[in-house]
Symmetry: C2
Subunit: 492 residues, 2 copies
């Protein structure tokens, strides 16, 4: 092989060789599986040092252009590009089984986001999100933690973990829960891929298609989507300022014999209300009397800005009646995808098995890093900080609403959590409002997506006050006010 | 507050203050919510520099013992320990719904591992594992990749990702698949938490309880566990040296009207056989004729040691008939939990929705890191290296079997993959053998766990030759030989 080399150039010789070979490979003049000359041979041909050639080959291999088989030489790897045209062109009819698949029409939570982005507004402000502010998270600190964990655990950090999840993390969670008045044991904790998987596992283990699940109406829309997709029948219990109207529960239990009660007792999504203590005890009592498990979704129970905490349902559990699910995603980082289930009794083993069958395990590296990052104190410090920030943002939104929205809107100031649940003036529909608001550069979650029938709540909207800085909150509500006026005048 | 300080000591003053306060907090003499004196105040009391006190407070806060509220001061955090006694003591009866839960009795793959560990053998050797050798993985390199990714993407690396998965990773996978003769598009790829979740999603989307799934008998035991747990009826097709006996397929399709055909056409688990080309085309043809989707599990299709590759079923797919699942876990790191589905047609949207409902998304950080680590060339180089190593190990096991096991055992040398499927002398039962083998310090997967009835295959064992270095393979098989002899003599 002849490679033109410039011994005067300040480009190192090995690099000149590498460049030449790379060009030939990419150009296809050195096709796949071509055996490159032995380094000794090429070195002689080019009158260079053998190491020079070896360095060039090493650089090519690092670049993924060649590979070396011990003893047998260095070979050119195929250069791949994506096929230019789709294999399945539009006129291929799909198999029958495909066309007969169950269609899921979700009250898609992303609609508002997409609409807002599509508006092309220079400075869009979203109040539609279901999570808190990721920008609060100390990424740099966490990066260092992951580092130290991988240095410490090496290959273990990337192996399958224990089936329940990384033991030290489960211990840490047990301590954090203890600090919140929920006494449990690491053996009763199952780490999941976020609380979404936690709810999913519980639903799968406890119900069959056509079974009935009882939920607050309105409730978390992704839970509704999940229950629908799994073929459950959904029965609703109305919510008031004190949370689920438990006084209406017993009649529903007798009427429908549900297999599960799904509830969000703290800073309910979307209404932001908390279930009062009397109702908590009543709920536990009734669930026991009618032998129905309770799935307690405590997604932001510890994000309280004033007033005193209520005991979690799980902490009132006489034994095995309540399955508790929570997450680090809302408080910390969505992308971490780490949630957990607290359950006792035979159901724990069922949950464990179903977790194994659905994805074997949750990323051990993330679990170990979270454990290394989390101490009770650190979590609490972080929680205190976040609470201060989110409280200020809630107040900013309440003030802005008073300043920019008509007095005909109504809402109760939430004592914690992420959401303000706001009722529009009767004449307005959230779904008519949304596209116009998005054009104006502000979005929200329309109320109907949280109701079982998907129709009720058209005069309600959910505003996330935790995800934006105060100045954006003021600006966003101001924009909303403008939209309100415009529609009013239209209505006239 | 009076803190005894030793100005002569070589322990820095701030640290003496920190130590004193920590002791008091842990001892409870400074209870939770106690407000520490303002740093200015304490500095005056102690006659030290104010920064000294501030450093002490900062150290305590970093340790999670106190937290500072801006403007309002520094407060002691509660010190938590785990509850000493379990809340639910044994004599609490569980609720009825718990005792009536469906019991899943799995042919648990971990049994062999546990038994081996329990044996307390000084140097246990496991051939029971279902995965390749994690020790091959360049952890250190991957650690650096994660670093650069977090430095590059900051908070984005920890946010929710796209619903399909990280786009560049899907592009990379499309290129790797193209290099294996499967032309697809990134939009037709869905990233999952390992191939286990991929199979799970497909099963959930395509079948309802009591629907019938057709599988090779024997087949991947975790798939059997999954199908059973989801309440499917499982019908088996026998396997021979050429893979699934497709000639028997049509009668079964007419008889059972299955809703899905699940198959492992390459280096089948557990038998290690490959489906020949004629049968591949026949299978596709029949699936189309009877309108039944094929779920192609290609968990180690690219781990070939000799012979030429067969086209994947998906690459023969006339359009939308085959759902292809594979994974990086087997080849690279189990703990990464990254697999993927290739599907086209309406079913893709259904899979996407179900993924969202089951866990929202797969860790974005891992996806981004894998993308940064993976280039086609790099993957292929890695694959070539692994193939060389695993081929050598396969040969080592074949040799060892010839040397140490009675000639009455029989097996076909697999051309790739991870497993040797070995038939024992008629007189022997794998399940009788296992405990004795474990005592001797060697384990394997008993054959019956791969059969639908859980009973057949008692005279078969699955040996993983890829997970152990050659010297351990020889030693392990040698031990197995000893156990064989012992049982034989017992039998006499």
């Amino acid at each position: 092989m002849r490679i033109p080399l410039d011994h005067q150039s300040n480009i190192p010789l090995y690099q000149q060789i590498e460049d030449h070979l790379r060009k030939s490979i990419l150009a296809g003049t050195l096709p796949a599986d071509t055996r490159l000359p032995a380094s000794r041979q090429l070195a002689r041909d080019l009158g260079v040092n053998r190491t020079t050639v070896e360095n060039a080959y090493a650089a090519l291999e690092a670049g993924g252009l060649v590979f070396s088989r011990m003893g047998s030489g260095t070979y050119v790897l195929p250069v791949y590009s994506l096929p230019s045209i789709p294999k399945n062109n539009a006129d291929t009819p799909w198999p029958l089984w495909q066309t007969s698949l169950q269609k899921n029409t979700f009250a898609n939570a992303d609609i508002a986001e997409d609409m807002l982005q599509a508006s092309g507004h220079p400075h869009p402000i979203s109040f539609a999100s279901g999570i808190s502010d990721a920008r609060q998270f100390p990424v740099e600190e966490f990066r260092k933690v992951i580092q130290s964990v991988m240095r410490r655990d090496q290959i273990d950090a990337l192996e399958y973990g224990e089936r329940r999840g990384y033991a030290p993390l489960r211990e840490g969670i047990a301590r954090i829960l203890a600090s919140q008045g929920l006494q449990t044991h690491p053996e009763n904790i199952l780490i999941t891929a976020g609380s979404q998987q936690a709810i999913f596992l519980a639903a799968q283990v406890l119900l069959k298609p056509n079974d009935i699940v009882l939920v607050e109406d309105p409730t978390y829309s992704a839970a509704l989507d999940l229950f629908r997709t799994l073929g459950f029948q959904i029965v609703g219990i109305p919510v008031d300022g004190q949370g689920m109207q438990v006084d209406k529960l017993e009649k529903l239990l007798q009427l429908h014999h549900p297999k599960l009660i799904y509830t969000i007792p703290n800073f309910h999504n979307p209404t932001g209300t908390c279930l009062n203590s009397a109702r908590r005890r009543e709920l536990i009592m009734l669930a026991g009397k009618y032998n129905i498990p309770i799935l307690e979704d405590d997604f932001v129970g510890d994000l309280r800005y004033e007033g005193h905490t209520q005991p979690s349902l799980k902490s009132l559990d006489p034994g095995g009646q309540v399955i508790y699910v929570s997450t680090f995603s809302k408080m910390l980082m969505p992308g971490l995808r780490v949630g957990f289930i607290v359950a006792d009794g035979p159901v724990f083993e069922s949950l464990l098995n179903f977790k194994r069958l659905s994805d074997l395990a949750t990323s051990t590296l993330i679990q170990r890093s979270l454990d290394a990052y989390m101490t009770v104190g650190r979590y609490q410090t972080y929680l205190h900080r976040s609470s201060q920030i989110f409280r200020a943002r809630r107040d900013a939104m309440v003030t802005a609403i008073g300043r920019y929205l008509p007095s005909s809107v109504s809402f109760e100031t939430p004592k914690g959590g992420l959401f303000i649940w706001l009722q529009l003036p009767k004449s307005l529909s959230a779904n008519d409002l949304l596209p116009i608001a998005c054009k104006e550069g502000v979005s929200f979650a329309p109320g109907n997506s949280f109701f079982i029938d998907g129709v009720s709540g058209r005069d309600w909207i959910r505003l996330n006050f935790a995800s934006q800085p105060a100045e954006d909150i003021e600006e966003g509500i101001k924009r909303l006010g403008i939209v309100f006026k415009r529609i009013k005048t239209k209505a006239k």
